[in-house]
């Protein structure tokens, strides 16, 4: 391999690879995201060892969820106008989840913040601010699917497993300590859980018959409204490196990836699963959303999109 032919072969491979890349659409991103992702993988795998060993039953998780939800409801007043509609949409997603033993409940709270969050045991909360931000039933399904994914993938309960496990043996303080340590570790991969939740949510949406593009649309709007502008491109190699390092340091403790990353991920998933989606008709439901009448009660043909 190390002879003259080997040299020619390697050289040709390098040149060919470079040329082919130049012929396509080239992205210019330079950052430490690859290293951070690998590091996140390592942390997540390490964490999983503990999670596997301290797994709680579905019943225990539901009980815990109800307990936490009651605390949330004390803090925030619920909006009953939206709750039935949101609950109807959410119920359409549930047949496709993995963990059937979880009983989901959907709550709408009075808050102007654009936010939605999930608690263990299927307790899903959406703020009025989020509902006012969304524009279609598919977008609402995307948000609810994302939060359901967090529950179904055990992201929510994992935050309590150590505490529950140590409480069982009467060492609750140790559990709190372990949980604190775990959260420190979780900083490294929390945002990848968000990406997983997005991906899982897309699957739920599709399986429930909603257009997954709606999630990307909502994220686009989120980016325009809340994300800061992009950084200018570095002009020197050293500038590029320092910019990447700076971005890595800033982004590491963030719990959510950027909207741009989420959009790209969603679009990639859709693209990758194109063969599964071809020929299917998926629902958007903008009119349904405006009227707050779920598709299950009013299926409008104009809201359907062919893939």
């Amino acid at each position: 391999m190390a002879g003259r032919y080997g040299l020619v072969l390697i050289l040709a491979a390098l040149i060919l690879g470079g040329v082919i890349v130049l012929l396509g659409h080239v992205e210019q991103g330079v950052d430490f995201s690859a290293a951070l992702e690998i590091w996140g993988d390592v942390l997540r795998d390490v964490d999983q060892v503990g999670f596997k060993l301290t797994r709680v039953s579905n019943q225990e998780e539901v009980r815990l969820g109800k307990e936490i939800a009651s605390q949330v409801r004390i803090r925030w007043r619920e909006n009953e106008e939206w709750e039935s509609y949101v609950s109807s949409v959410g119920q359409t997603l549930l047949p496709h989840i993995q963990r059937k033993g979880i009983h989901y409940e959907f709550h709408v709270v009075e808050s102007s913040r654009v936010n939605a969050f999930a608690m263990p045991g299927g307790q899903i909360f959406v703020t009025v601010g989020m509902l006012e931000f969304l524009q279609s039933e598919a977008e609402l399904a995307g948000v609810l699917a994302h939060e359901i994914a967090h529950v179904d993938l055990r992201h929510c309960i994992e935050g309590y497993q150590y505490v529950l496990a140590t409480k069982r043996v009467g060492a609750g303080e140790v559990g709190h300590l372990a949980e604190s340590f775990r959260r420190l570790l979780a900083i490294g991969y929390k945002k990848y859980q968000e990406l997983d939740a997005d991906a899982y949510g897309v699957r739920l949406m599709i399986e429930a018959g909603y257009d997954p593009q709606a999630m990307a649309v909502a994220l686009h709007r989120l980016r325009q409204q809340f994300d800061k502008g992009g950084r200018p491109q570095a002009k020197t190699p050293v500038g590029e490196f320092t910019q990447a390092l700076e971005q890595a340091i800033v982004s590491y403790p963030r719990s959510h990836p950027t909207s741009e990353e989420r959009i790209q991920r969603v679009e990639r998933i859709v693209s990758r699963n194109r063969h599964h989606l071809s020929g299917r008709v998926l629902y958007v439901g903008a009119e349904n959303y405006r009227k707050r009448i779920p598709r299950s009660l009013e299926d409008l043909p104009s809201e359907r999109r062919g893939f």
Binding site: A2, E27, I38, E240
Partner: protein, 1003 residues
């Protein structure tokens, strides 16, 4: 004026008082010395004296040197005539008169030396001695009264006469005053001449003669010079009369051959002129005075008179010009004054030249004439010029410089450089009348003159001309000093350029181009310096030529400055780099190391500029032009490296040649790397760096240049790191192939190729020390790349498929090629696969296919692990570990247990998969069946580890049914679990029992 004279007299009086005190002190000391000397005369000693003195001496000697030199002393006191030659004593010692005399002298010296007298008499002692010699045996009072008062009296009288001549009286007209003046003067002269014949009145007479001549001169001067005594209107007649008097004075003084007398006469004459009103005539009147002084001083070699004359001449002129009233046309006075000064200068210079010709400069006082003349002439002229205004001052400087140039020529003829010893310093030559002093002053005058006359480029050209003239003269005449002077002027022009012209800035337009105002001057200077440097040959006095040796550095620095200011900042670096090439070639061909050093310095400067400005972009106004800057720079530096590489041995010192080669190539690589970064998109940069790395390493092996290979390895490392920054997370693709695969895969192959290449070259002994571990490193690096590529290409969950297959591939190749490293990599990858599979459970969040995909993925992974076990079990891997580290030891042991490891991993993974996928009701059944399959496979494949794992699993099932199933499962599931498990267990047992014998052989 009068006040000054009174002050002068007062000073003289005080000085006399001080000196007289010193005389008294000296008298006392001399008396003391004499008395001491008279106290012990050795010639008159009797035997008693001798005996006593010897005793004293004995005591002294005992004190000083112990008993080693004791002399026995005779005890008799009767005077005895001792025959010469011997003194008898009562003891054994024999003493000779010489030794006694010596001993006595020793004793005397002990007494005398105790109050120490310095070996060399002080200045005052010498002065005292001189004065004493001069006054001989006369008493001091007589000296003061007879000689000093005589002289002072004459002085005062002549002063009074001069004042009388200038004073307007109602009843005595000019003629009368002149007549009176002459009468007094002649009377003094005549009386002096008469009295001189008598010995007693010699001193008095000489004072009168001196004063008489001074009075004659003063009166003659007043005949035209003073209004109150003007009887001669024509200045020419006045001058003639003065000249006549001066001639008479000279002739008469020659008769006495006394420097003091003549000096006094001239002193009085100078003072006379000094106190008269300032006018053209008064100025001219001093000329014959000076001239005659020169003649006399030259004739008799009276240097002190000459020195005093120089000081008096210029001092008088300066005092008269600054303090005295000016009369007549101011401009007229100025011109005549300058003329007179010039005459003074010529006269004194001529005297000095005559002295040089006569080799009189060996006398230290003679050496002061030249500098005094120069200081006086230039100082007084400048004083005069300052009152006129400085607009034409350059004319004075030019004229003075020309005069000193003429003096230089004359000095060179009459005291040629060859007349000095080779080891005579420049300063000594200058003092001894060499041309060096005159030419130095000429240059020192010409230079400010040029500054005053010219400005801008003209000034610079004029300076260059002056310097070049000196340089060429020095070259032609073989005179290093001239060239040193020229170097001074050259460097002055350079300093002026740097400190004044560049600082001032400004722009001009030349041939349609805008350039800095000083650029043309700088270029011209650089050219001249370069040409001059080429004319310089090695000298016996290298220190003297040191400023010239720096010509080329100066020229180079100027060229660098010009380029730095004239070229746009974007191209400054490349401009400097281009400049370095001709410098290097000149240095190489002419064998002048300094040019080569300049080339290196300029090249380093250019490189630094390119890195800072073009690569790092420290200035925001820099326009990006990477091809023209970094590209061209890389080509040039590589060309330099090639040039150094291809040079014939001996043309450059080896160390220098290697350094140039290596540093240039490294610089080229840096620039090329930067160029690639600038021009290519982010994902392709790593690939391009990989190509560069490959070429450098290959070239390094072909040409046997480890430095090139080092550069190649470093660039390869850069490419490797770059992948993690720019290539793994991008989403670009071409024709459905991700850019990640298109860039990472070739680089992976590249690193494997490097590993093989290094191993091959290592086998041929071509590697240097630091390369010895690289082959192994290049085996691990691409493995990591592949693992990461699979992770990002397939996703965190699906990556396990790729990893398991890659691990299998590594294991296969590792076994085939007997490579420990590849096998170890496969073990690590297998472990990683297991952990990731366990953590993710093959669940892909965005996979729409659902369970079938997951089962397929799981099957592939588990199958790969079992395949690995199969491969390992068919080969004997590892061996006796010659481990140098614990890690290596561990890996070697793992090698020996690889099959077991793979089996455990696969079985555990399968068991876990079943645990997560199969519901609790059928789990025991599933595990039981798994155990059975493992046993069967173990028997069929003759794999003991499979059978053992199967048995273990069945054991777990047994435990589960009793601990968990019995309590947690419903009735139907519980029954199924127990029944299926029971059947399985029985079946296994039956097999083991039925085929015991075969199994015994089998096992």
């Amino acid at each position: 004026m009068e006040t000054l004279i009174v002050i002068l007299l007062g000073v003289l009086f005080i000085r006399w008082v001080v000196i007289s005190k010193r005389f008294k002190e000296l008298d006392r000391k001399i008396e003391e010395l004499s008395s001491r000397w008279r106290g012990a005369p050795p010639g008159e000693a009797t035997i008693h004296d001798v005996a006593q003195r010897v005793a004293n001496l004995e005591a002294l000697l005992r004190e000083d040197v112990g008993a080693a030199a004791v002399l026995e002393v005779p005890t008799t006191t009767r005077p005895v005539d001792i025959p010469p030659g011997q003194i008898e004593t009562s003891s054994t010692a024999t003493v000779s008169p010489q030794s006694v005399d010596t001993a006595f002298r020793l004793e005397v010296s002990r007494r005398v030396v105790a109050p120490s007298i310095p070996a060399k008499p002080s200045i005052l002692a010498r002065l005292g001695r001189q004065i004493r010699e001069q006054v001989a045996h006369e008493e001091w009072e007589a000296i003061v009264g007879g000689s000093w008062l005589n002289k002072l009296g004459v002085l005062v009288l002549v002063f009074g006469l001069a004042l009388f001549l200038a004073y307007s009286l109602k009843y005595l007209g000019p003629a009368g005053r002149v007549a009176v003046g002459f009468a007094v003067s002649v009377a003094m002269l005549g009386w002096g001449v008469v009295l001189e014949r008598r010995v007693r009145y010699v001193i008095f007479a000489r004072g009168l003669i001196g004063g008489g001549w001074a009075a004659v001169y003063a009166t003659t001067y007043a005949m035209h010079g003073l209004e109150a005594a003007r009887v001669v209107r024509d200045p020419l007649i006045g001058m003639v009369l003065l000249g006549t008097v001066a001639a008479g004075m000279i002739l008469h003084s020659l008769h006495y051959k006394s420097e003091v007398v003549t000096g006094l006469a001239y002193f009085v004459g100078f003072v006379t002129v000094a106190i008269s009103p300032v006018s053209s005539f008064s100025v001219l009147a001093s000329v014959p005075l000076v001239g005659s002084l020169l003649v006399v001083a030259h004739q008799f070699a009276w240097i002190r008179v000459m020195v005093a004359g120089v000081i008096a001449t210029y001092g008088m002129y300066a005092v008269r010009y600054t303090l005295g009233p000016h009369s007549g046309s101011f401009l007229g006075d100025f011109v005549s004054g300058q003329f007179v000064l010039a005459v003074y200068w010529v006269l004194f210079e001529a005297f000095d030249l005559l002295g040089v010709a006569r080799r009189r400069q060996t006398i230290p006082l003679s050496q002061t004439i030249f500098p005094l003349n120069a200081c006086g002439f230039i100082g007084v002229s400048l004083l005069q010029w300052s009152s006129v205004g400085l607009t034409d001052l350059h004319l004075f400087f030019a004229a003075a410089a020309a005069a000193y140039l003429a003096s230089t020529v004359v000095r060179a003829r009459i005291r040629p450089p060859s007349s000095f010893d080779d080891n005579t310093s420049i300063a000594e030559r200058a003092l001894l009348g060499g041309y060096e002093s005159a030419v130095t002053i000429a240059v020192a005058l010409a230079t400010p003159g040029i500054f005053l006359r010219y400005s801008g480029l003209s000034l610079h050209v004029a300076l260059l001309l002056e310097a070049e003239f000196l340089f060429l003269a020095g070259l032609r005449l073989g005179q290093p000093y001239l060239r040193t002077l020229s170097a001074g002027v050259f460097w002055l022009s350079v300093v002026k350029l740097l400190l004044a012209d560049i600082a001032r800035g400004g722009q001009v337009t030349f041939a349609g181009m805008n350039m800095m105002a000083w650029t043309s001057a700088a270029l011209l200077t650089a050219v001249v310096l370069s040409i001059n440097r080429s004319c310089i040959r090695p000298s016996k006095k290298p220190l003297l030529l040191l400023p010239e040796l720096a010509y080329s550095y100066g020229a180079c620095a100027l060229l660098v400055l010009v380029l730095g200011f004239e070229i746009r900042p974007t191209y400054v670096g490349i401009g400097w780099l281009v400049l370095a090439f001709p410098l290097f070639e000149i240095g190489l061909r002419k064998e002048l190391a300094e040019f080569r050093y300049q080339a290196y310095a300029v090249a380093a400067l250019g490189f630094a500029a390119m890195v800072m400005l073009n690569m790092f972009g420290t200035r925001s106004d820099i326009v990006s032009a990477p091809w023209m800057t970094l590209g061209l720079g890389a080509i040039l530096t590589y060309a330099a490296a090639a040039r150094a590489f291809l040079l014939r041995p001996g043309r450059l010192p080896d160390r220098e040649r290697l350094l140039v080669r290596d540093v240039s190539s490294a610089g080229g690589t840096v620039l090329l790397t930067g160029l690639i970064w600038h021009v290519l998109p982010a994902p392709v940069v790593a690939v391009a760096w990989g190509i560069v790395s490959l070429l450098l390493i290959e070239l390094g092996f072909v040409l046997s240049l480890p430095m090139l290979r080092l550069q190649g390895n470093l660039v390869g490392a850069l490419a490797y790191g770059r992948l993690f920054l720019a290539n793994f997370t991008g989403t670009g693709e071409t024709a459905g192939i991700s850019h990640r695969v298109l860039t990472v895969s070739p680089l992976t192959l590249f690193f494997y190729y490097l590993s093989a290449k290094l191993r091959k070259e290592g086998g041929r002994g071509q590697l240097v020390a630091w390369e010895s571990g690289l082959s192994r490193l290049y085996l691990y690096a691409p493995a990591l790349l592949v693992a990461v590529l699979i992770r990002f290409e397939a996703g965190p969950v699906l990556a396990v498929v790729g990893w398991s297959l890659f691990a299998l591939g590594l294991l296969f190749v590792g076994i085939r090629w007997k490579s420990d490293d590849l096998r170890w990599q496969s073990y690590v990858l297998a472990l990683l696969t297991f952990l990731r599979s366990w953590a993710t459970n093959f669940h892909i969040p965005d996979n729409l296919a659902g369970a079938p995909d997951r089962v397929l993925i799981g099957a592939v992974v588990v199958g790969s692990l079992y395949a690995g076990q199969f491969l390992c079990s068919r080969c004997r891997n590892g061996g006796i570990s010659a481990a140098k580290s614990r890690v290596r030891d561990l890996l070697t042991q793992l090698d020996q247990q690889a099959a077991t490891m793979y089996s455990i991993l696969a079985t555990t993974l399968l068991t876990l998969l079943l645990f997560y996928e199969v519901s609790g009701r059928l789990l025991t059944v599933a595990w039981g069946l798994e155990g059975l399959v493992l046993l069967v496979a173990g028997f069929l494949l003759r794999q003991r580890v499979l059978r053992l794992l199967g048995l273990l699993l069945l054991g777990v099932c047994i435990l589960k049914v009793f601990v968990y199933d019995l309590r947690q499962l419903d009735a139907l599931a519980r029954i199924l679990s127990f029944v299926v498990l029971g059947v399985v267990l029985l079946g296994v047992s039956l097999i083991y029992t039925r085929y015991r014998e075969q199994l015994r052989r089998y096992l």
